[in-house]
């Protein structure tokens, strides 16, 4: 089934319109940033609304380094991830002492602060005017300047990031995280440094967030402060919730929901934001495990049915 999914993803850009491919590129970018938030929520129980800050750091790093300094896009991307990781470390160390609602609110506060600073530090971010002419990504002379070309890069990066994350989930550290989420006291007794582990996962999510931001800047070649507001942070969290925080693959469904649903609904006219909000409410009420969790449940049930059928 996974192979069929990958094949479908590979063929789509050959068949679909430019507009659809563009949406799917955004689905990929949001999946990359979303996986960080999903993992934090699903494995560590941390609600992070600050992902827009790191998405912004990546995007502005790429924009500034490739335009003002004229360096290579790959260098810019690495610088962005390094800054994102460093900022996350400094912020997470004190902030992750908090938990529950307080932590959610603290990250929302960080998101607000980040948005204001992106606006006010206009000598580096261009403020409301933004930065244009960001370098596009190229490999050996092949410039990724159309949605079709960028599509493959974006989804390959999604594949790599998801592979790394699923390895992490199966590793000793992943086990420790689940212990920490479900039985924090027991985890502490077993000698797991909860705080340090949380900080590491947060830093990792910040780095994939800025990776997504860098790719975003190279793809649209223009960044402005509007792309990194609170709404963006909320939509990253929605990806985790709608997709299902406890599954990794669910993130893709969540990202698809966040990018495709507003687009499809916008054909119905001005009523579309209302429908989107109601769809969100219904998902939270009726699919508490998200789309990913729901599918996982259905597949498991199917397997059980077929096994029962075989026994009889």
């Amino acid at each position: 089934m996974a192979a069929a999914g990958v094949l479908a993803l590979a063929v789509i850009p050959l068949l679909a319109s430019r507009e659809v491919v563009d949406l799917l590129v955004f689905t990929a970018l949001y999946s990359i940033a979303g996986i960080g938030v999903t993992f934090l929520l699903g494995q560590c129980g941390i609600i992070s609304l600050a992902e827009n800050v790191f998405y912004g750091i990546g995007a502005y790093a790429t924009a500034y380094v490739t335009t003002a300094l004229g360096w290579h896009w790959l260098v810019a991307l690495v610088i962005g991830m390094a800054i994102g990781g460093a900022v996350a470390t400094i912020l997470a160390w004190p902030v992750l002492r908090l938990s529950g609602h307080f932590l959610a609110l603290a990250t929302l506060a960080l998101a607000t602060i980040g948005h204001v600073l992106f606006l006010e530090w206009d000598w580096i971010t261009g403020g409301t005017l933004g930065i244009g002419g960001v370098a596009q990504i190229s490999f050996f002379g092949c410039v990724l300047n159309t949605p079709q070309r960028f599509y493959y890069l974006a989804w390959i990066v999604v594949g790599i990031v998801f592979w790394l994350y699923s390895n992490l989930l199966d590793s000793r550290a992943g086990c420790a995280m689940r212990a920490m989420r479900d039985r924090p006291d027991a985890a502490m007794v077993l000698g797991i440094d909860i705080h340090q582990l949380k900080v590491k996962v947060f830093v990792l999510s910040a780095m994939v967030g800025s990776l997504a931001g860098s790719l975003f800047a190279s793809y649209v070649t223009f960044v402005s402060v509007d792309s990194f507001g609170i709404e963006r942070a909320v939509s990253f969290l929605l990806i985790a919730v709608v997709g299902g925080a406890q599954t990794i693959i669910g993130t893709i469904f969540g990202a698809a929901f966040v990018t495709l649903a507003p687009n499809l609904l916008s054909r119905l006219g001005d009523v579309h934001p209302l429908l989107f909000a109601l769809a969100l409410v219904l998902t939270v009420i009726f699919l508490p495990q998200g789309i990913g969790g729901f599918l996982q449940q259905q597949i498991r049930r199917l397997f059980e049915l077929s096994r029962l059928g075989g026994d009889a």
Partner: protein
């Protein structure tokens, strides 16, 4: 820096502080009664503000009935949210996060509905005492702002009496602290939770009709109000109505000082940093009883 300017910004800070406090008050009421963090408290006020606008500016009703209509609208929205959003989530075993997210979705829905039916424009509304100003040491404050401060204090006192004296207030507290125990002694727990949302909605409505004349009604205003109100409620210990207003006042004054001494652009940076520091340093807020989380 003249003294007048300083007093002027301090007055603005105090007024804003009561605005945040009023929103925080509603968040505290709902948290106290149901342990739900309501992310659409600001949107109760948005709805109330819109109803006030329709009644007083559009239909030309006198100001008092219009205010009452706004408060009633807030209560109705609170009831609707409990019945259609919160109750089904609880029935399906929702956790803390689900409640936060479901009300966040409600906040988007309210804002989107306001955009659809009310449009993008900000609408100015007449306040109590019109646009008249009062002089305070050469600085000025709107008469409406004075009303806002007085009525906020009245609401806090009324809530205090409600929770300590009224049977139904005590029942709400019992249902929140020990749902099973409350059921055994014959308290209708689901009803108390619904009533809590009606009460929170009404407080949100009062906040809405008092705030709207000061800041003009706009479909986007809900989420930022919620955030500031939540900050106020947390600084003053979540669940403590008096604390919410005190926390709001602190937040408003910090913001005012930030505008005077730093720059208005960094107002939110400073107030949010203040919030994070307060949460880390005094996690249960400044009015916490020792050894107990929340109200």
């Amino acid at each position: 820096m003249t003294a007048t300017l300083f007093i002027q910004s301090l007055l603005a800070g105090i007024t804003n502080g009561f605005v945040y406090g009023l929103i925080g008050l509603g968040i505290s009421v709902i948290y106290r009664g149901t342990r739900v963090v309501n992310a659409m408290q600001g949107d109760f006020s948005l709805v109330a503000g819109i109803v006030l606008y329709l009644c007083s500016e559009h239909l030309g009703y006198p100001i008092l009935p219009s205010f009452l209509a706004g408060v009633l609208a807030g209560a109705v929205v609170g009831w609707t949210v409990e019945i259609f959003f919160v109750r089904p989530t609880r029935r399906r075993g929702g956790n803390e996060e689900s409640f936060l997210l479901v009300t966040l979705g409600g906040a988007f829905a309210a804002s989107a509905a306001a955009l659809l039916f009310f449009g993008r424009d900000s609408r100015p509304i007449r306040g109590l005492g019109g646009d008249n100003l009062l002089d305070v040491f050469d600085a000025t404050i709107r008469v409406h702002a004075v009303w806002l401060i007085a009525l906020s204090i009245a609401v806090v006192v009324a809530l205090r009496l409600f929770y300590t004296r009224a049977t139904i207030g005590k029942a709400i507290m019992a249902a929140s602290i020990d749902p099973d125990g409350a059921t055994i002694i014959g308290i209708n727990v689901p009803m108390m939770r619904t009533l809590t949302f009606v009460l929170g909605g009404a407080v949100g409505g009062i906040a809405g009709v008092l705030i709207s004349p000061l800041i003009t009604v706009n479909y986007e205003m809900g989420l930022l109000l919620t955030l500031k109100g939540f900050t106020a409620a947390i600084i003053g210990t979540l669940g403590n109505p008096f604390g919410a207003v005190a926390g709001g006042l602190m937040l408003g004054i910090v913001e005012a000082l930030a505008i005077v001494f730093v720059s208005s652009g960094y107002k939110d940076v400073i107030s949010m940093t203040f919030l994070i520091l307060i949460m880390i340093a005094v996690p249960n807020g400044i009015f916490a009883r020792r050894g107990r989380a929340g109200g």
